[in-house]
C-alpha cells in the first residue's frame, strides 16, 4: 500500500508488484459481480482484509509497514477479520495498533512474522477474538500462548497453530483445556508435544470440540482415549503422523464419538483393518473417510466400509495396498456415495472401477490418479453406469485410449473434466464428449503431444459455457488453437497456458482480447515480455498475468484450486 497522508483514509486499491499482492478493500474497480464480497460492505468498514508480501532482504517501497497498517486500522473501525501473510516488515508497533484499535476483530490469522509474547497478550486484551490462526511466527513461545488463552479462552471458538517452535507444548495444551471451554475447532501441528497429559486436559476441558486436527504430535493411545471418552460432540477428526497411536486410539473414538462425520487418517504404520471396521460399525453418521498412506489398512478394511458405512458420501483412498476384489459389491449398502478419489492404489484394476460404477449409480465425482492398471474397460463402465457424474479426473492413465474416453459422453451432466498425462488420448478423444456434454465449465489437459489445435477448435465450438481451461505442457497447441478458444469460449474466466512450447505472446494476447470475462491468465515466467503484459492489462482492466513457479504436486490436494486462485 503506497504511503498516504495521515489525513486521508486508505483508498481501496488493488496493487500488484511482482509477487506481492495487497488485496484491497471493497468497491475497488473491477470486482466481479459474482464475487460474494463485493455487495456486502461500504468503504470504511471492511470486514476482511487479506495481505501478502515478500520477505526479501531489501525493503521495497510498497512493503506494508507499521504506518500503513495503522492507517488501515484507523480507516476500518469495524474490522472483523484480518489476515497477514509474511509481514516481517511489521513490528510490534503495528500489531499493538491492532490490539488498540480493533475491538471488533473476531478472526486473526498471522503467517510469517514476529509476534512476541507480550504482543499476543495485548491482542487478547484488546480484541474480542473468536478465531486465531498462527503459522510460522517467530518469538512466540508457549508462555505467550498460555496467557493468551487465560484472557481470551472464554470467547475462543477456533484455534489453529502450525510451524511455530515451542508454542504448542504439553503446557499450552493443558492451558487450552483449562480455559477454552467453548472451543469447537482445534488444529495443531507441533513436534513439541511429547506426552499425553496436555491433550487429555483438552479432552476434559473442551467437551464442545467439533473438529480436531493433529499433525506430528507425540501423543499416544491414552490421550486419544480421553478424546473418545469426553468429546462426544466430535464431528471431524484428522490425524497425520501420530506415530505413537495404534488401533486402540481409533477403538476409543469409535466407541465414544458417535457424531463423527468425517475421519481422515494419514501416514500411520499402526492403524489396521480392525480399527477401520469398528469405526465403520459404530459411527453411523460417517459421511467422509480418507485413508492415506496407512500400509496396514488393506482390502478387508474396504470390505467393512462397503458393508457398514451406509451414510458415506465421500471416500478418498491414497497409497493403499488394496486389491480389486475389495470393491466387489461396493455400493450395495453405501449407495449414497457421491465422491470417490483413488490415488496411487497400484493393485487395483479395471474390475474394481467396474464394481464401483455398477454399485454407486449416484456418483457425482470420480478421480482416478496414478492407478496405472486402469484402462478403457473401467471408463466405459463409468460412462454406462454413472449418469449423474459431474466431475471426472483421470491422471496418468497410460492405458486409456480414445475409445474408452468416448464412453464418458454418456455422462451428459458432466461439468468438469480433467485428463492429465493420459498419453494415448488424441484429438479424437474429446469428440463425442464435446457433442454430448453441453454443461462443461472446467476442462484440463496436460502432457500431451497428441491433443492440439484440432481439440481446441472443437472445444471452442462445443463448450460455450467453459469458464476454466487448464493446459499444461500441451506441445501440440499453438496460437491457432488459442484463437479458437478466444472466439468460442466467451464465458472463460481463468485460463492456464503453462509450458506449452508452441504458444507465443501473440496467441496469449488474442486470448486476452477474446473473453471480456477473463480474469486470470497463468503462464510460466518469461513467457510474456513486459510490453505485452501492459497491453493485456489495457484490453481487459481486470486481467492478471501471474508468473509464479508452482512446484506443487499436480495430483496433490488443492492443486486445482491453487492454480485457479493464485
Amino acid at each position: 500500500m503506497a504511503s498516504t497522508s495521515p489525513q486521508t483514509p486508505p483508498r481501496p486499491r488493488r496493487t500488484e508488484v511482482g509477487h506481492w499482492e495487497i488485496t484491497s478493500l471493497p468497491e475497488a474497480e473491477g470486482w466481479d459481480s459474482e464475487n460474494p464480497r463485493s455487495d456486502e460492505h461500504n468503504q470504511c468498514s471492511a470486514p476482511s482484509v487479506d495481505m501478502q508480501e515478500d520477505d526479501s532482504d531489501d525493503f521495497h517501497p510498497t512493503s506494508l509497514t507499521d504506518a500503513g497498517l495503522i492507517h488501515l486500522i484507523e480507516g476500518c473501525k469495524r474490522l472483523e477479520k484480518l489476515t497477514l501473510n509474511w509481514f516481517s516488515h511489521i513490528s510490534e508497533r503495528g500489531l499493538l495498533g491492532i490490539a488498540n484499535g480493533c475491538w471488533n476483530l473476531q478472526s486473526l490469522a498471522l503467517t510469517g512474522g514476529y509476534v512476541p509474547n507480550h504482543v499476543l497478550i495485548a491482542l487478547a486484551e484488546g480484541c474480542n477474538l473468536k478465531e486465531l490462526k498462527l503459522c510460522a511466527v517467530e518469538e512466540l513461545t508457549d508462555e505467550g500462548l498460555v496467557e493468551f488463552v487465560k484472557i481470551r479462552g472464554k470467547s475462543l471458538v477456533s484455534l489453529d497453530i502450525s510451524i511455530c517452535n515451542d508454542c504448542v507444548t504439553d503446557r499450552s495444551l493443558d492451558a487450552i483445556g483449562t480455559y477454552c471451554h467453548k472451543l469447537e475447532v482445534l488444529s495443531v501441528e507441533s513436534k513439541d508435544v511429547k506426552e499425553n497429559k496436555g491433550l487429555m486436559s483438552v479432552a476434559k476441558g473442551c467437551q464442545s470440540l467439533k473438529s480436531l486436527k493433529m499433525l506430528g504430535l507425540g501423543v499416544g493411545d491414552a490421550a486419544l482415549e480421553a478424546i473418545g471418552s469426553f468429546c462426544s460432540a466430535l464431528e471431524t477428526l484428522f490425524l497425520d503422523r501420530l506415530d505413537k497411536c495404534s488401533d486402540r486410539s481409533l477403538f476409543s473414538i469409535a466407541n465414544g464419538c458417535k457424531q463423527l462425520k468425517s475421519l481422515i487418517i494419514k501416514s500411520s504404520d499402526k492403524f489396521t483393518d480392525k480399527s477401520i471396521e469398528l469405526v465403520s460399525r459404530n459411527c453411523k453418521l460417517l459421511q467422509h473417510m480418507e485413508i492415506n498412506g496407512c500400509h496396514k489398512v488393506q482390502t478387508a478394511a474396504l470390505e467393512h466400509i462397503g458393508q457398514l458405512c451406509t451414510n458415506l458420501l465421500g471416500l478418498t483412498l491414497s497409497r493403499l495396498l488394496i486389491e480389486s476384489n475389495a470393491f466387489l459389491g461396493f455400493g450395495q449398502r453405501c449407495f449414497l456415495l457421491k465422491s470417490i478419489y483413488l490415488d496411487m492404489c497400484y493393485e487395483i484394476s479395471d474390475e474394481a472401477i467396474c464394481h464401483i460404477a455398477q454399485g454407486c449409480k449416484n456418483l457425482r465425482e470420480l478421480s482416478i490418479i496414478r492407478c496405472y492398471e486402469i484402462g478403457d474397460q473401467a471408463i466405459i463402465s463409468v460412462g454406462e453406469n454413472c449418469k449423474e457424474l459431474r466431475e471426472l479426473a483421470l491422471h496418468c492413465l497410460v492405458r486409456l485410449t480414445d475409445a474408452g474416453l468416448a464412453a464418458v459422453s454418456q455422462c451428459s451432466f458432466l461439468q468438469k473434466l480433467v485428463i492429465f498425462a493420459c498419453e494415448q488420448i488424441t484429438d479424437d478423444g474429446l469428440t463425442s464428449i464435446i457433442r454430448e456434454c453441453h454443461d462443461l465449465v472446467h476442462l484440463g489437459i496436460s502432457d500431451t503431444k497428441k491433443m492440439g489445435d484440432t481439440t481446441l477448435a472443437k472445444v471452442g465450438e462445443g463448450f460455450p459455457k467453459l469458464k476454466h481451461l487448464v493446459m499444461l505442457r500441451c506441445h501440440a497447441i499453438s496460437d491457432i488453437g488459442l484463437a479458437h478458444i478466444a472466439r468460442g469460449c466467451l464465458q472463460l474466466k481463468v485460463c492456464v497456458v503453462f509450458q506449452c512450447s508452441q504458444v507465443t505472446p501473440a496467441g496469449l494476447a488474442t486470448l486476452a482480447e477474446g473473453s471480456s470475462r477473463l480474469q486470470r491468465l497463468v503462464v510460466e515466467k518469461g513467457k510474456v515480455p513486459e510490453e505485452a503484459i501492459e497491453k493485456c492489462r489495457m484490453i481487459n482492466g481486470r486481467l492478471v498475468i501471474l508468473n509464479g513457479r508452482y512446484e506443487i504436486d499436480v495430483f496433490g490436494e488443492h492443486c486445482e484450486e491453487n492454480l485457479l486462485l493464485v
Binding site: L472, Y550, E551
Partner: protein
C-alpha cells in the same frame, strides 16, 4: 556414537532450520525466490548445508515430471524442502542438483 558435524556459513542473511536454528543456506546461494511449494513460498538454492536426503521419488509437479528427494535438517530431521534429482522437461533441467527450501520451514538470521 560419533559427533554430528555441523557446517557453519559465513556472512549475513543465513537461512536456518526454523526448528533447531542450524545453518542451512546462505542468501547468496538463492537462484530464485519465485517458487511455491507445499506450504507456500519457497526459494531455489544453489547450495545448502546440514541436510540429509530422502529417497528418490517421482513427483508430478505443475512444471512436469521430476525425480526429487525430500531434504531434512540433519540435526532435527525436520523436513525443509526437496532437491531436484532429475527433470524430464528440457526447460526444467536448470533445476537439476538444486535445492528448494520452503520459506515457512526457515528462519532467517538477518
Amino acid at each position: 556414537m560419533g559427533l554430528l558435524f555441523v557446517q557453519r556459513l559465513e556472512g549475513d542473511g543465513v537461512f536456518k532450520c526454523r526448528r533447531c536454528r542450524v545453518d542451512a543456506a546462505s542468501k547468496d546461494a538463492i537462484i530464485s525466490r519465485d517458487f511455491y511449494g507445499r506450504s507456500g513460498r519457497a526459494y531455489l538454492f544453489d547450495h545448502v548445508v546440514n541436510i540429509s536426503l530422502g529417497p528418490n521419488e517421482d513427483r508430478y509437479l505443475i512444471t512436469g515430471l521430476h525425480t526429487v528427494n525430500d531434504i531434512y535438517c540433519s540435526c532435527c530431521q525436520q523436513i525443509l524442502g526437496w532437491r531436484y534429482e532429475k527433470a524430464y522437461d528440457a526447460s526444467q533441467k536448470y533445476k537439476e542438483g538444486k535445492f528448494i527450501l520452503e520459506r515457512a520451514r526457515m528462519w532467517k538470521d538477518s
